[in-house]
């Protein structure tokens, strides 16, 4: 039930990005361009005709479940997999014939892939040695990097003498020390425990801003994607189904799939009874009420079936009937989960549909609602979203 906390995060992390959004600027030149990129393994299409622009200094997250093609896409950017079709341009250069060891791209592996027979220092210096960098400069760069990831005291240790979090930082340092044009991170926080993951998330963001390197992160963890990214590309079955800022993805998912994948959502099926420019009315037997949404749905035939998405935190629970005609229904509380800062309620509607709603616990020692309470559920016309796909 972690998803439900996400209501607050996207807004907070998105604030600095609002000043610079190159993807909304028609004159901005993309740094990485994927053009009709496909990758097939035999009959299986891992990456299916992806066209995507990523801009300089972005922290772009590829988000999706396992087997959605996100890791294959990352490996194609690194040069470990050749494209079946389409091409990758990095800073205007076609990467097709450039082998991994000549690409200005570095990758942080999910397993970290630290060289077990080398010290921390040796691991970080490895990439610079391959460039033939003179010793004094190499030493300086390595010690700067060790300082940056706070591993100065561990330079002489071998990877197996480090904790998981320290290994993760060595892997990051090793990938960053060559100052790549593009840094690829494969589930960078996947192997860390929750507390460490939260701290590391912020460290990663600070580092990215400091070094001004373009990051492409692959993750299946929607919370990680939400906190880290400037933009998220949600992937499913080899395609990118939606690209947008965390806020856009959360508040304006383009499809049921995205809405379900990011956070939790209540979906009500219903028939459109009225579709105007500024509002739409949907009759939903599942919800047990008329749904009124203050945005029109273009190109939809009245009477057709649509889904209405309402996030749990946008639903108000009350004992008395609220003063509104639409978007009000009743139900019985079946489950209560106390999470500390908030409580999650699962409410059964007369139609049998379960609805999830979260309420912040604003006061101490008060439990407003409990099992078997009959309550009213309501939300504002601007809180719900019509999904046609």
């Amino acid at each position: 039930m972690v998803e439900s906390e996400l209501g607050q995060t996207p807004v907070a992390s998105n604030e600095p990005e609002q000043t610079r959004e190159p993807w909304n600027d028609p004159d901005a030149v993309p740094y990485i361009q994927l053009e009709n990129l496909s990758k097939r393994f035999g009959n299986f299409t891992a990456v299916d005709n992806i066209t995507l622009d990523i801009y300089k200094s972005e922290l772009f997250c590829l988000l999706g479940g396992s087997g959605c093609g996100k890791s294959t896409l990352l490996r194609m950017l690194a040069g470990f997999e050749a494209a079946s079709e389409g091409r990758i341009l990095l800073d205007g250069v076609d990467m097709a014939d450039i082998p991994p060891y000549e690409r200005p791209v570095n990758m942080m592996f999910q397993s970290y892939a630290l060289f077990p027979h080398m010290t921390v220092q040796g691991n970080i210096a490895f990439g610079l040695k391959q460039e033939g960098m003179p010793r004094p400069e190499m030493d300086r760069r390595v010690s700067d990097m060790l300082e940056l990831v706070k591993l100065g005291d561990y330079a002489k240790r071998k990877p197996h003498q480090l904790s998981g979090g320290q290994r993760q930082r060595v892997a990051l340092a090793r990938a960053l020390v060559k100052r790549p044009k593009l840094l690829l991170l494969d589930e960078p926080l996947g192997a860390l425990d929750k507390k460490l993951r939260e701290n590391t998330q912020f460290e990663l963001m600070t580092l990215q801003e400091e070094l001004d390197i373009t990051f492409v992160v692959v993750t299946h963890d929607q919370e990680e994607a939400m906190t880290l990214s400037s933009r998220i590309g949600v992937m499913d079955q080899g395609r990118i189904v939606q690209v947008g800022s965390p806020n856009e993805i959360y508040e304006h998912p383009s499809s049921r799939l995205v809405a379900n994948f990011i956070g939790s959502v209540n979906l009500f099926e219903g028939n459109v009874v009225e579709d105007e420019a500024d509002h739409v009315r949907i009759q939903s037997a599942e919800a047990g009420c008329m749904l009124y949404i203050d945005h029109g749905v273009n190109q939809i035939v009245e009477g057709s079936r649509v889904s209405v998405a309402v996030r749990p935190e946008k639903i108000k629970i009350s004992r008395d009937r609220p003063e509104q005609q639409d978007n009000v229904t009743t139900g019985v509380i079946e489950e209560v989960a106390y999470m500390g800062s908030l409580s999650i309620y699962r409410i059964r509607l007369p139609s049998g549909v379960m609805v999830q709603a979260t309420q912040p616990n604003l006061d101490r020692d008060t439990r407003q609602f409990t099992w078997d309470d009959e309550v009213y559920l309501s939300w504002n016309p601007y809180s719900a979203l019509v999904l046609t796909t």
Partner: protein, 327 residues
């Protein structure tokens, strides 16, 4: 134990009923424990007894004989322990056999030659076996089993038969010479039998699987991500092999080399069957000393000296393994 419905089932239940909780069982266990016999000791005792009986005791006998003197008797050596007239026991150790080994050039030359042949064979096995092990480790899982099978397949045939087969291939009117002469490439046979070449060939052929298998076991575990990481950091494939694969496969290289070098030094069958009269190897010298000269004490001294000679690389190996274990 829910089978007590039939007579057979009841019998089985009774059979499997724990014995220990009974009074008799308890007292037996207490007695055994008092005598220092626990389950763990009993398990270790079996291999310990085996090694004692078939390794340590024969070794002590050989050691004993090596300090004796040759005698025309059965067995053909003097007893170390002698009883004087005054019923005093005296032990007479004869170091002459060992001195003889150092004084006579034959033995030193045989040891050095054995070491050289074993070393060259080990290096050759490594050079041939490493690429094979690497290829097997990198092949698809289905092919991997077939390839491993092919490596192990020769063991189905007796080692001795395989060496004899090489004689048939290498001799002057053997397969190779007949083929080459039949094709008109050579006029007279190339002498291959009874040369050092044949000995090397035989040893490398026979011991190659012992190099491949430990190397394969090691290389198969190598994380492919490490090589990708090296490539990602700007390292070309061959350099990545030298910097990553090779150092990480060192334990496999050492294990394989030990498995080839140690038996190759003492090898007797291959030099006797494939080698010529001047292929001097310590195993043959040992055989000659024992069966032709019937000088058991010198033969024993040769064997003990060889053991000491081989213990050094084994101890080096142990040392290396311990260091690996610690880190």
């Amino acid at each position: 134990m829910r089978m007590g419905y039939t007579p057979l089932g009841q019998g089985l239940v009774r059979l499997f009923e724990p014995v220990m909780p009974t009074a008799l069982g308890n007292s037996v266990a207490r007695l055994l424990r008092a005598a220092g016999v626990t389950g763990r000791n009993a398990v270790i005792a079996v291999p310990l007894l085996w090694l004692l009986l078939f390794f340590l005791i024969p070794f002590v006998i050989v050691l004993k004989i090596s300090f004796a003197e040759y005698a025309t008797a059965i067995p053909p050596y003097t007893d170390l322990i002698q009883w004087g007239d005054d019923a005093l026991m005296s032990i007479k150790l004869n170091f002459g056999n060992y001195l003889y080994l150092v004084e006579d050039d034959l033995y030193v030359a045989a040891y050095l030659n054995s070491a050289r042949i074993a070393l060259v064979s080990t290096v050759m096995c490594l050079l041939i076996g490493y690429p094979m092990a690497y290829a097997i480790a990198r092949s698809s899982p289905a092919n991997r089993n077939i390839l491993l099978m092919l490596v192990i397949l020769p063991f189905w045939t007796s080692f001795l038969l395989r060496v004899y087969a090489w004689m048939g291939i290498l001799k002057n009117n053997g397969i190779i010479n007949n083929l080459l002469m039949g094709m008109g490439i050579i006029d007279e046979p190339i002498v291959m039998m009874q040369t050092d070449f044949a000995v090397y060939l035989g040893i490398i052929y026979s011991y190659l699987p012992f190099m491949i298998l430990p190397l394969y076991a090691n290389l198969e575990k190598l994380d492919v991500n490490l090589l990708e990481a090296a490539a990602d950091l700007g390292c070309k494939p061959f350099k990545a092999f030298l910097l990553i694969t090779l150092p990480l496969s060192l334990p496999g290289i050492i294990a394989g080399s030990m498995l080839v070098f140690i038996p190759a030094v003492g090898e007797f069958v291959i030099p006797s069957l494939l080698g010529g009269p001047d292929t001097l190897m310590i195993g043959r010298v040992l055989w000659d000393e024992f069966f032709n000269n019937r000088d058991w004490p010198v033969a024993s001294a040769v064997a003990i000296a060889m053991l000491v000679f081989l213990v050094i690389p084994i101890m080096l190996f142990q040392h290396y393994q311990n260091r690996q274990g610690q880190s």
